[in-house]
């Protein structure tokens, strides 16, 4: 590990011991965030309580009952299914699309640079407002997209209002909003790859597909993992787009975790159930991120080993 070697010589000037230095550097960030742990643990306690704001007298610990109820609650399993499906679909599609666009824009040119900045625009619109605009654009009477759809023969396409197409519609909006996020991170990654391997491959006449799968993709993987991780964390917690477009409907088509938890908290004021739902959501994201980080670190180590 060359990096540790680098700092073996004591620094002149600063008198912080080498051993303490990393702690000194990372502690402020940790301290600022650690305050959030207190409300977090308070919420964990809520999740083990029978706690409805409208029945304050009945508030008591019911240990795990909120969680046990989920096992027999079909609404919960639907929530789990829809959330995972939504996250899986959006992240996969956005990753493929984002990678594709990044590859299209890889070559440095003024036009490409300009396009890549302009493509960030959807990301800059707050998702709640973007969803409102999409709702208007897919309105059956005034919506430009509904109109365009009717021009190609789709006269009765109901977008987010039909249980058959609601998921596709919100996924489409999610793709529109968040693909630029993945695109920009991967574009940055692509453009920072070392040029030597590609030049060598070109000289040897290696097929392009081989270059892509055996050189580009492996070298890009750390970036892909970072982008996917952040996208996954956000996607499985999606609220704004879904709530603004369908409020979780039609029926129970889109009652993802955050929508359920929001309704439980702000409308039903059933804090116990809401907190339990969110703790489960937290546990899922925790596990997923753990898997990602492990792989990320492994890849980093390997990349460093090869370098």
């Amino acid at each position: 590990m060359a990096s540790t070697e680098t700092l073996r010589r004591p620094a002149s000037g600063f008198r912080i011991s080498r051993k303490m230095l990393p702690y000194v550097l990372s502690l402020p960030a940790l301290l600022v965030c650690i305050g959030i742990l207190i409300p977090f643990f308070t919420a964990v306690i809520y999740s083990f309580q029978r706690y409805r704001l409208s029945q304050p007298w009945a508030r008591q610990f019911n240990w795990g009952e909120n969680y046990l109820n989920f096992i027999t609650d079909p609404a919960f399993w639907n929530t789990l299914k829809v959330s995972l499906l939504y996250a899986g679909l959006t992240v996969t599609l956005e990753l493929l699309l984002g990678l594709g666009i990044a590859l299209l824009l890889q070559r440095r040119s003024t036009v490409n640079n300009f396009i890549s900045i302009m493509l960030l625009l959807p990301l800059m619109i707050a998702p709640a407002l973007a969803a409102l605009m999409w709702k208007l654009m897919t309105n059956p009477s005034f919506g430009i997209l509904s109109y365009l759809a009717s021009l190609i023969g789709l006269h009765d396409f109901r977008w987010a209002s039909s249980p058959d197409t609601a998921l596709l519609t919100v996924v489409l909006v999610d793709i529109w909003v968040y693909t630029p996020f993945i695109m920009i991170l991967l574009l940055a990654g692509l453009r920072s790859l070392p040029t030597q391997p590609f030049e060598a491959a070109a000289l040897d006449g290696v097929p392009r597909s081989f270059v892509f799968f055996r050189i580009t993709l492996p070298m890009l993987t750390p970036y892909i993992l970072t982008a996917t991780l952040f996208r996954l964390l956000d996607s499985i917690q999606q609220f704004d787009i879904i709530y603004a477009m369908t409020q979780g409907g039609p029926g129970n088509t889109l009652t993802v975790f955050q929508v359920e938890a929001y309704l439980n908290f702000f409308q039903s004021t059933n804090v116990g159930r809401s907190a339990a739902l969110l703790i489960i959501l937290w546990a899922i994201t925790y596990t997923l991120s753990n898997v990602f980080i492990k792989n990320w670190l492994r890849l980093r180590e390997r990349a460093r080993g090869e370098a």
């Binding site: 059956p140 109901r158 209002s161 369908t246 409907g249 039609p250 039903s268 004021t269």
Partner: protein, 481 residues
């Protein structure tokens, strides 16, 4: 200066001359409308002040939490009058309707002392009251030392006033003797028909008189008006708001209930009766045939927008949506008409379920007496008249405002049938839900079930049985069933 005019206004304020007589007199005296208004405000302030110590809390500060709404706009426009009258300084936070109740819940649940009074709906008080976040206002209303003699609590429309009073017992009747007055009505909405007269004429449709006629009329409008116009706008999003307007008004007209209250006070679901199933079936097929294509994401603002832009021919929803769409920059402004609606052919009168924007007092207010000063002013007759005649404070909740000639004429001139609609349906207008803390759980699931029925994912009968079963389970879980 203006002594004679002042006398005339005083006479009006004492009730010796009616409003029309006063304005006629003022007009004869050659006063401009502006001057008359100024004089009127000055004199009314004096009149209010005459027999009651409005300055008792002078120098205090209050803060309000308000929804972005014409009612709030009207109050803010008149707020200086209150400040002058009482010497109380009032500040306010206005939040968009979309996020308003989230803000209220967050502020109250944290026990924040920031806001003294806030706007709310009656349904919300079924949570806020038992949670201990708001104050029973009866104590103040009934205290002559704290309430000005002209407040006239009896002047409030009884159905509206009682709908804001609940004893806190799940299933307890609204407006019962032991009820607590959780909030004071401010402005309210009945659910009736607002329609596009020109489209009715074009399709040769007359105003429907019951649910069957409504379905037929809606279908004919959808078929004959053309241009993609659909016949009937009713809300459909996955929310409590889908249940409470036209849907529940029609449902209640058939004598149907959301919940049964047993002799032991236990609640159980009541929406799977044969009559209810018949009503649901008609409602669902009406939407399938002549409702908006985007019905399942269709919220209150779309009900209004579509009517105002000429995308729909008729709505069975809040009357004030029809009212607002008849003005402003809406394409159909000036082309809308109104009619009362009784869904049940056997019913003698409409029974609109109502939404009431009300004012409530936060239990965490640091000065409840001063807050009550604001509440009684804001819900008082003077402000109601100001709002109803100069601003869009419609529908007023006081009987005497509805008797006001100026107000009636103003409505009759631009909103044909509106006053009559109100007069016909006001006696049956009240909240037809069972007051209980699981209101939002019940209605949200009800809306989701309706969506499944309209999308043909579940047959009506089966859907209602499932809904009743699920609601009974939730009531039991909460210790209510």
């Amino acid at each position: 200066m203006y002594e004679k005019e002042k006398d005339l206004i005083s006479a009006f304020l004492r009730g010796e001359v009616d409003r029309r007589g006063m304005l006629k007199g003022l007009g004869a005296a050659g006063l401009t409308v502006g001057t008359a208004g100024t004089l009127f405000n000055m004199m009314s302030t004096q009149a209010l002040a005459a027999d009651f110590d409005w300055k008792a809390h002078s120098g205090k500060k209050l803060k309000l939490l308000l929804n972005k709404h014409p009612y709030a706009d009207a109050m803010i426009a008149n707020l200086q009058t209150f400040k002058d009258l009482t010497g109380i300084d009032v500040t306010y936070d206005v939040f968009p309707e979309d996020v308003y109740f989230d803000k209220v819940t967050a502020a109250l649940s944290s026990g924040s002392t920031e806001y003294d009074a806030f706007m709310t709906g009656a349904y919300m008080t079924w949570t806020y009251g038992p949670a201990g976040w708001i104050t029973d206002l009866k104590e103040w209303i009934n205290d002559p030392a704290k309430t000005n003699p002209q407040y006239a609590w009896d002047d409030f429309l009884p159905g509206v006033k009682n709908s804001c009073a609940w004893n806190g017992q799940p299933g307890g009747a609204l407006g019962s003797d032991d009820a607590k007055q959780w909030c004071i009505p401010w402005g309210y909405e009945q659910n009736n028909l607002s329609f596009n007269q020109a489209m009715f004429d074009k399709a040769g449709v007359s105003v429907p008189k019951n649910l069957d006629e409504l379905s037929v009329a809606a279908a004919k409008l959808t078929k004959d008006v053309g241009g993609g116009v659909y016949g009937i706008g009713v809300r459909g999003s996955r929310s409590w708001a889908t249940i409470h307007p036209g849907f529940l008004s029609g449902y209640a007209n058939f004598g149907q209930k959301d919940l049964n209250v047993g002799a032991d006070g236990k609640l159980s679901a009541a929406m799977n009766t044969a009559d209810s199933k018949a009503f649901h079936a008609k409602w669902v097929s009406m939407i399938q045939e002549s409702g908006p294509k985007d019905w399942s994401t269709y919220t209150w603002y779309q009900v209004g927008t579509d009517l105002g832009a000429g995308a729909s021919a008729m709505i069975y929803d809040a009357d004030i949506l029809g009212y607002f769409m008849n003005g402003g920059d809406n394409k159909m402004a000036g082309k809308l008409a109104y009619a009362p609606f009784a869904a049940n052919p056997a019913a003698s009168a409409p029974t609109p379920n109502i939404w009431i924007w009300s004012l409530a007092m936060s239990n965490f207010s640091r000065d409840k007496d001063a807050t009550w000063y604001f509440l009684q002013w804001a819900t008082g007759l003077e402000h109601a008249i100001f709002g109803a005649t100069k601003m869009d404070f419609v529908n007023p909740v006081r009987a005497s405002v509805w008797k006001d000639e100026i107000f009636r004429e103003r409505l009759n001139k631009s909103y044909p049938g509106y006053v009559e609609m109100h007069d016909v349906s006001a006696p049956g207008a009240k909240i037809h839900f069972t007051a209980q803390p699981l209101f939002f759980d019940v209605t949200t699931e009800w809306a989701a079930t309706l969506q499944k029925m309209v999308a043909k994912q579940v047959p009506v009968d089966e859907g209602l049985d499932q809904l009743a079963e699920s609601i009974n389970r939730q009531l039991q879980e909460a210790g209510l069933g």
